[in-house]
């Protein structure tokens, strides 16, 4: 026990003096996520806000053919812009989100009581133009049904005749659950913080020590190698934990800079949330520390270990990617799968759905069990003769 603590304390202290380890574990890992996230969210939210509520500026071609229509749209917030020569090119090149074109025979069809055609020109492959297009489309529909009702009334008929089915929408989402959807990428940042926070240390403590030839004198001491391994894993775990806690706190602070309530959303990134996230992520700290050490023990050099671990960085991202492209219904078994359980659990917490103690327990037991098994494999690798001897 004492020798493990000795190794642990030495590794923690020595690596606090290493700028790269400290920077990646305590600065880069925890802060990059929240900063990118807030910047991204602010841009997205404010853009959507202006598009959803502000005046809608749309170039109109042939406005002179339908003054009444234009007046009706103006009442709904349309600000007609002067016509442009080549609307197709304009939407393709994003000079305009959408262009409204009124044909010359609009008035003739209108007076004859035939459906009068208007054209919306847009490019649906352009990101972020959908809001403008659907707003304009809704305005046109609204105008159309209003005029239709007036025509029916003029003929002494109830407008209800033309609307046999009325849709009444009941959205069951809560402000918090809508925010959770927005935050679906957030669980990945926690996992990333653990991985990046522990990576350099894991490489340094095994591949690095071997490369600097200090593993051989270390193993000449009367301490079993598994005790040395445990001391090192402890140090890696502490750095990963520090990285995770800082990340969680940073997100909690960053949450205050998000105008989510403007979108009718709310979220709770308070102390309770942070505590639950850290608890749920604990097994990943052990798992990554062991996994990274195992990889570093196999690698022939520091650089090789770094390459392998950078490639492995895709692993923690997998559940987030899978969940993003094929949303599946959360089920209890998912908590038994490390990484997937954390993804599902943190997502639910963000959406305001309480995660049961049983599920958290399942994630902890299975995660630590996986780390333990991998730890045994690492201990075996640590006993090999080749480990201590640098080429």
């Amino acid at each position: 026990m004492k020798s493990m603590v000795t190794v642990f304390l030495k590794e923690v202290r020595e690596n606090l003096r290493d700028k790269r380890t400290v920077f990646s574990a305590l600065v880069y890992g925890p802060l990059m996520g929240p900063i990118i996230f807030v910047a991204l969210m602010n841009t997205v939210i404010s853009r959507e806000m202006t598009k959803a509520e502000g005046p809608l500026e749309v170039p109109v071609i042939g406005a002179q053919y339908a003054p009444n229509l234009i007046d009706g749209l103006k009442q709904q917030g349309l600000v007609p812009q002067p016509p442009i020569a080549d609307p197709d090119k304009a939407v393709r090149e994003r000079d305009a989100d959408v262009v409204l074109r009124i044909p010359a025979d609009y008035a003739r069809a209108w007076t004859k009581g035939e459906p009068a055609q208007v054209e919306l020109i847009y490019d649906s492959s352009q990101m972020g133009t959908g809001t403008s297009r659907s707003r304009l489309e809704n305005m046109l529909k609204h105008y159309g049904s209003q005029q239709g009702a007036l025509r029916l009334l003029a003929r002494g008929l109830s407008p209800g005749i033309a609307a046999p089915v009325v849709v009444s929408e009941r959205d069951q989402s809560t402000p918090q659950s809508r925010a959770g959807q927005l935050f679906s990428i957030l669980p990945y940042f926690f996992v990333l913080a653990i991985y990046v926070g522990s990576m350099y240390l894991a490489i340094d403590l095994t591949a690095g020590e071997r490369e600097r030839q200090s593993l051989e004198p270390l193993f000449a001491n009367p301490v079993a190698r598994w005790r040395i391994l445990l001391g090192k894993l402890g140090a890696i775990g502490v750095y990963a934990l520090a990285s995770l806690v800082l990340t969680a706190v940073a997100f909690s602070v960053a949450g205050h800079f998000l105008p989510a309530e403007k979108l009718g959303m709310s979220f709770d990134l308070g102390a309770g949330f942070i505590g639950r996230v850290i608890l749920l992520e604990l097994p990943l700290i052990a798992l990554f520390a062991v996994l990274e050490t195992l990889v570093a023990a196999f690698a022939k050099s520091y650089r090789e270990a770094q390459t392998y671990l950078s490639l492995l960085l895709i692993v923690p991202a997998l559940p987030s990617i899978i969940m993003a492209f094929m949303p599946i219904k959360p089920a209890t078994w998912m908590y038994a799968v490390p990484l997937l359980g954390q993804q599902v659990g943190v997502s639910d917490m963000l959406r305001g759905v309480p995660v049961s103690v049983g599920n958290i327990g399942l994630a902890l037991v299975c995660g630590f069990a996986a780390a333990f098994v991998l730890g045994l494999v690492t201990a075996v690798v640590y006993r090999s003769e080749k480990l201590a001897i640098s080429a």
């Binding site: 030495k10 290493d18 051989e216 000449a220 301490v223």
Partner: protein
């Protein structure tokens, strides 16, 4: 007391150590002499249990290294071929780390460290980080680190490698003092003058085998050569890999 009985170790098809036996006694300096690649480092690595022999036995103070490697390591002070200091730690921290790994309590650790620091004349570098140390300063720190638990048996792998004349002389005096304290000192070298000057007993290794195990005088008598250098060349069978 270190006893080695018929050690064998092969890496693939290469027989690095092919039946090495010798004994290094307390109060003596035993030199392991051989050209580069003769199997000296591999033999020593089996002694301090970093490697397991394919066959054969290592006894340190009568303890079998295969049975109780931890106890063997407790009785050994080892300066490996790889010095490997922690460059982000000071010399003092390097020494203290190993002392604690040996479970030495703080007060005793201070005593032992101070003694070694004086003996090795390394007071001026004690609180400097080892990054940027000269070869001599590195060896001093590594030796202090290896001996802080006051071991009865000392193994030094090519201790004077890369040292200048002054540092080498200082190290020789230090080794003679270890001998005077009654310790068993075993060191390897490929420099014959050094071995001849220091050793009570010389074990000559070539191609993984012991070709001689004698006192320097007996060695001269055995080969019939008045000059030690000629004696060695005759034993090893070639001049390759030996330095004067």
């Amino acid at each position: 007391m270190i006893e080695v009985k018929d050690l064998h170790k092969a890496f693939g098809k290469v027989k690095a150590v092919d039946g090495v036996s010798f004994a290094a006694r307390d109060g003596e300096i035993t030199g392991l002499l051989g050209p580069n690649g003769a199997g000296k480092t591999t033999t020593l690595r089996m002694l301090y249990t970093l490697m397991k022999p394919d066959s054969g036995q290592v006894l340190v103070d009568g303890i079998d290294a295969a049975v109780d490697p931890i106890a063997v390591r407790r009785r050994l002070g080892v300066l490996p071929d790889a010095r490997g200091l922690y460059k982000r730690l000071s010399a003092r921290e390097n020494i203290d780390y190993f002392a604690r790994l040996h479970g030495i309590e703080t007060r005793l650790m201070h005593q032992r460290r101070e003694k070694l620091v004086d003996a090795l004349e390394m007071r001026d570098i004690l609180d400097r980080r080892t990054e940027g140390f000269s070869q001599g300063q590195r060896v001093k720190t590594a030796i202090a680190r290896a001996l802080v638990h006051d071991p009865k048996n000392v193994i030094l792998d090519e201790p004077t490698n890369g040292l200048d004349v002054m540092a080498t002389r200082g190290l020789r005096t230090f080794m003679r003092n270890l001998k005077a304290e009654g310790r068993c000192v075993l060191f390897s070298s490929h420099i014959m003058q050094e071995v001849a000057m220091l050793c009570d007993r010389i074990v000559v290794i070539a191609n993984g085998r012991v070709v001689a195990d004698e006192t320097p005088d007996a060695l001269r008598a055995q080969t019939g050569e008045a000059n030690l250098e000629d004696a060695f060349v005759k034993l090893i069978g070639s001049e390759e890999g030996l330095a004067a």
